[in-house]
Amino acid sequence: MAAQYGMVAAAAVAGVAFIAFVAAVWYARSQRRIATRVQTQIEQQREALALAEARHDDEQRASSGERDALAAEVARLTDELEQQHARFAVVRSELECALVRGGDALQRASRIAEEAARLKRFADTFERWHEQMTSLMAQNQDMHQKNQELASIVSHVLIVSLNASIEAARAGAAGRGFSIVAGEVRALAARSQELSRSYRDSLNRNDFVTAATFQDIQAGGKMMAASLAGVESLASQLHDAFERAAA
């Protein structure tokens, strides 16, 4: 029995010793893994640092280049600004001269507009002439009526003279002298009739030529008034443009 207890105890001691050994081995391995990992991390950090330093150097170099370029650009812009300033002085001087001239042109444009507006009143003159045409045509119409009346009288005289000739013929020898007078009256009436026709034709010709001529004058007047209105409008636009430029 005691021997049995002794064997159990020995086995237990051996078991504990084995577990202790295994634990010691596991611990040792674990320590080695941790050490290896730490070492790896240190190396990675080192490499990252080296990389960051290299990048920083690059950036510094680039920054230095940019600074130089910027300085050059600032110098160039400064030069350009000076040149622009000089040019601006010239332009301002020219503008001042132009404003003086513009003031003169403004006055001229204004004058042209006024003149064009004044000249448009020519249309009134043409209208006056046209009114004269109406008066002339009324006179012509009056002469037409009088001539028509004359033609009617002459026509009547012709008939009377013809009747007189017939009556004279009936009277035979006694009417011979009267027949000669009647013939003379008829001849005079025929001439009057011819004259009246000619007078009527002249009046018709007068009507047409007078109306056509005065219409041409009236239409020409309107044409000129329209053209002058165009000139007036252009001069006003020019005047406005000068005023805007001067403002």
Binding site: V209, A211, Q215, Q218, A219, K222, M223, A225, A226, S227
Partner: protein, 176 residues
């Protein structure tokens, strides 16, 4: 002095203006035939309107009779004489021509219309015209109007009116 295409253009401008302005109502049929016999229309009265430019003057002469057919067609207000009413139509017709021509000749002026006796037409040659064209205008087959276009110029005239130009609604109201 006046090119053939100018004569043709003037004819088309007149026809367009006449079709749009002479009928009293827009739907009325208006037929226009050019007279080739050289004879003036025979109507007793004629309305004359002149368009003047720096290059030329154009007379539009519209011939009419003061008869029942004309009065029935044109006079809606019995208190107005036919001559007044037809003179207004002639003025509108010439105004429409003026509006078309002003696109080609910027400086144009138009007279007020005037009515003359038809016998005056015998003296058209007194103006020494460079171009004369005559037309018969019939509205609804009942109203007969004559038309004469007379152009006098001292400078060569050459222009082409757009095909549709004369047909456009045109013709501002010319007050007289």
């Amino acid at each position: 002095m006046i090119s053939e295409r100018t004569k043709d253009s003037l004819g088309r401008i007149f026809m367009g203006a006449a079709r749009s302005r002479l009928p009293a109502r827009p739907d009325d049929a208006c037929e226009i035939v050019e007279r080739r016999d050289g004879a003036s229309p025979k109507q007793a009265r004629v309305v004359v309107v002149t368009i003047s430019s720096m290059q030329f003057r154009l007379l539009l002469l519209l011939h009419f009779d003061d008869d029942d057919a004309m009065r029935d067609y044109y006079v809606s207000d019995a208190s107005r004489p036919l001559t007044d009413v037809f003179t207004e139509a002639a003025n509108l017709c010439c105004g429409a021509m003026n509006q078309q021509l002003v696109g080609h000749f910027p400086d144009l002026g138009m007279s007020t219309p005037y009515t003359l006796g038809g016998q005056c037409m015998a003296y058209l040659a007194e103006l020494k015209p460079d171009h004369v064209a005559r037309y018969d205008v019939s509205i609804n087959g009942a109203v007969q109007i004559g038309a004469t276009l007379c152009v006098c110029t001292r400078a060569p005239l050459d222009f082409v009116a757009q095909e549709s130009a004369a047909e456009d609604t045109g013709g501002e109201l010319e007050l007289f």
